[in-house]
Amino acid sequence: MRAASGKNYFELFGLPVSFDVDADDLTLRYRELQRHVHPDKFANASDQERRLSLQMTALVNEAFQTLKDPVRRGRYLLDLRGIDMGEETDTAMDPAFLMEQMELRENLDEIRQADNPGKQLAELANQIDQRMLEKIVQLRGALNLDSSKETSRARNLVREMQFLQKMHHEIDNLEEELT
């Protein structure tokens, strides 16, 4: 019998390894798994089972968060293919993307100084969401074609999307500061 903890996140949820995940189906599976492994179901059990339940629930939570989010899911698929994201060593990015990023960042700095930043922030967040959606479509295409060229394109896309997510976080933080 193979230990559940040895499964990858897709296997844990009984899903095929693919970028295409139905969000509603995933949530349903998540809830069912929680109903069966959550520590509240083992409050009365032996230390051994309580420990296992804690580990398993943490794993289910982490797997759910990873599979739910397209960027993390994409990154995880690349992990499974043995692709190193190389964040610490490889800082080369597509120059066009970097330019775009710098522009967005400048916008954000300007908004920080603006008189009524709320509306502008929302617009900027919208812009980023839009770009994110485009990239999700591209990423789906790249990941579904399992060639080394496409894999390397997927890797770049994931890295760009991580940048966008970080920008989004900064916008959220600024919104919070302002309210």
Partner: protein
């Protein structure tokens, strides 16, 4: 009084016997204990029929036990330094935090060995943990008497916005009081259970909980008996107490009482302020007759309008966390299907008015806001102790504050973000920066800000036993785990050699295990009893718990075992049972350990089986969901 339920040797309690576990609301102002009896959750009264226990402890000289509750309240203004109220505000706090809380707390604080503060009393120094334990002991005794059984298992509620140190302090207090904590349950979540929101098919609910000293807002999504907390926010130092202070300050101004009023006078003023505040929930105005000391007095009047003006800014302070929770949850007030009010301070008409205005709907307040949390905790306790219910229910809660570690330049790197569903674990790789380095220090912080100095220090973890290597060669994988109580633990392993490092915890505001052990030995409750008897009893309780768990597992899933495996487990049970009926605590401990080892594979298979069942059952659910959608 039959306190202990002891079965005859060789007999375990009948399996169908209903077990009792209680829910405890350890509040800033009042505490309650509740239990499920005959299918109904009810709070348990004292011998005079009073349900609330004021969270006040009075320490007495000449070796008398401390008094707790109304008796302590009665002497508070005579002996303010030895009468501790609102101790919850001090849990998991350091002396600097208390300075920030201001002069409002009329006690003598002292700095201990750790940053955890201590209070000087007539019986010596006491930590907030020990003081809280006195309240819990009182509730435990009340429950044991009401239910004619020794009560050891409890669900204890904490504000959702409590940080790790405050949660740990609460759990330590329970341990000192001789209670096993089945779960630390967030107060708003407990209230949602009490309202039976699980019976609603689905929807998003907000729980607005303004207590004596803390404010919480939680947003929950309900779906087929699953309570999913989607965001929580709050202020763990804001509550009805602050309103009392605002009123007291106003009285001082009006009555020309100097700022340097002594402890006794301050206590009297706060009491008068509270009485006035409570009276104004029913009437439009209240007359005041204030003792100004030295035989002087002041007469005046406080109107509800004036009160509103005094407390409006405090109520407004609850709205910004409310906005944050909504934003984190990604819902607007319009998408909220209901609002539940919890906590004594939500009785104040102005609070209700503002909440209704904010959410654009009338809040629910049909359950007594003082009792609702304890009732919900009792329901959860009953489920956790293993009593079956008709409808299945499951709580999925979140961590209220982000968790991070200190990196270069006094900055914090977030490891686990706030509002992440718990339990959760995250790993991070570290390396050494010196040749042959064998130890590493990790500073864990909680909070949303970027600078270490703006976050709350939780603990310093020292990893020892790293195999000596050249600088940068070691790969130490550190795992941060948050359990279902919202409590953090840390483990570490060097990846290239697989050597586990030992983790030595220095809690910033907490107690070490040895300090708790010492307190247990010293505590009055145990001083009279023999330490050996206590240890034996603890092991016996653990043994009973394990044997019951293993027997239940065998009854349910013995098909997962081969004959030899099964007989090994049965042998282990027999050995433990024999030891349990002996007098040797250490031998019982060893037998527990041994049985726990023997059941390792079994536990793993049962967990795998659970996962298989979850996904098999999923098909049916899917079918149901599809059918629901069909008109």
């Amino acid at each position: 009084m039959a306190l202990f339920q002891i079965s005859e040797p060789g007999q375990s309690p009948a399996p169908h016997e209903r077990r009792y576990a209680v829910g405890i609301d350890l509040g800033t102002t009042n505490s309650l204990v509740a239990c499920l009896r005959n299918g109904v959750a009810e709070t348990l009264p004292d011998e005079s029929g009073r349900h609330l226990l004021p969270s006040v402890v009075h320490y007495r000289s000449n070796g008398k036990e401390p008094v707790v509750g109304y008796e302590a309240v009665a002497v508070a203004h005579e002996d303010p330094l030895n009468t501790i109220a609102s101790v919850k505000r001090l849990m998991g706090r350091g002396i600097e935090d208390v300075r920030q809380l201001g002069k409002s707390l009329p006690y003598e604080f002292i700095r201990g060995d750790t940053a955890m503060l201590r209070l000087r009393t007539v019986v010596g120094e006491r930590t907030p943990v020990e003081i809280s334990a006195e309240i819990l002991k009182k509730l435990k005794a009340r429950a044991s008497e009401s239910l004619s059984a020794e009560i050891t298992d409890a669900v204890i509620t904490v504000p959702a916005y409590f940080d790790d140190a405050q949660r740990q302090a609460t759990k330590d207090a329970a341990r000192l009081a001789g209670l096993t904590v089945l779960r630390l349950l967030n107060e708003p979540t407990a209230a949602a259970i009490a309202y039976g929101l699980d019976k609603n098919p689905q929807g998003v609910y907000a729980v607005y909980d303004l207590g004596g000293g803390t404010f919480d807002i939680s947003l929950l999504r309900l779906n087929r008996g699953i309570f999913e907390v989607i965001a929580t926010a709050g202020d763990s130092a804001l509550g009805g107490d602050d309103m009392d202070h605002a009123i007291a300050e106003w009285i001082m101004q009006q009555a020309n009482i100097a700022d340097d009023a002594d402890h006794r006078q301050m206590r009297r003023l706060l009491r008068d302020a509270r009485v006035a505040k409570e009276a104004l929930t029913r009437s439009e105005r209240v007359s005041l007759n204030i003792d100004c000391g030295k035989g002087n007095s002041w007469q005046g009047e406080l109107s509800r309008d004036r009160l509103n003006a005094l407390i409006d800014s405090l109520i407004d302070r609850t709205l910004s966390p409310s906005r944050r929770a909504l934003r984190d949850a990604g819902v607007t007030t319009r998408e909220v299907d209901g609002v539940v009010l919890v906590g004594g301070a939500t009785r104040i008409p102005r609070v209700r008015e503002k909440v209704a205005q904010f959410f654009g709907r009338e809040p629910l307040a049909d359950i007594d806001p003082d009792k609702v949390v304890a009732l919900g905790a009792a329901l959860q306790a009953d489920i956790l102790i293993g009593n079956k219910r008709e409808e299945e229910m499951l709580l999925l809660d979140v961590i209220p504050l982000s968790l991070g570690i200190e990196i270069m330049g006094g900055m914090v790197e977030k490891i686990i973000r706030r509002n992440t569903t718990i339990p959760v674990s995250k790993s991070q790789n570290f390396t050494t920066f010196k040749d042959g380095q064998t130890a590493l220090l990790i500073h864990v912080l909680q909070g949303e800000r970027e600078l270490v100095s703006d976050c709350r220090s939780l603990a310093r973890f020292e990893l020892r036993g790293i195999p000596p290597m050249t600088a940068g060669a070691a790969r130490i994988r550190v795992t941060f785990q948050i359990d279902a109580d919202g409590l953090l633990s840390v483990s570490a392993q060097e990846q290239t050699t697989g050597v586990a490092s030992s983790v030595v915890v220095k809690p910033s505001y907490g107690l070490t295990d040895s300090e708790i052990e010492r307190m247990l030995r010293e505590s009055i409750m145990h001083a009279s009893a023999d330490d050996v008897v206590r240890k034996l009893r603890e092991q016996q309780i653990d043994a009973d718990r394990l044997m019951e768990a293993v027997r239940a597992a065998l009854a349910a899933d013995s098909a997962l075992l081969e004959a030899k495996e099964r007989s090994d487990i049965e042998d282990g049970l027999k050995k433990l049972e024999a030891m349990r009926n002996g007098e040797d605590a250490e031998a019982i401990k060893q037998a527990i350990k041994s049985l726990d080892q023997t059941t390792q594979t079994f536990a793993q298979r049962r967990m795998d089986e659970n996962i298989r069942k979850a996904l098999a059952g999923h098909k049916l659910e899917e079918f149901d969901a599809a059918r629901d959608k069909t008109p």
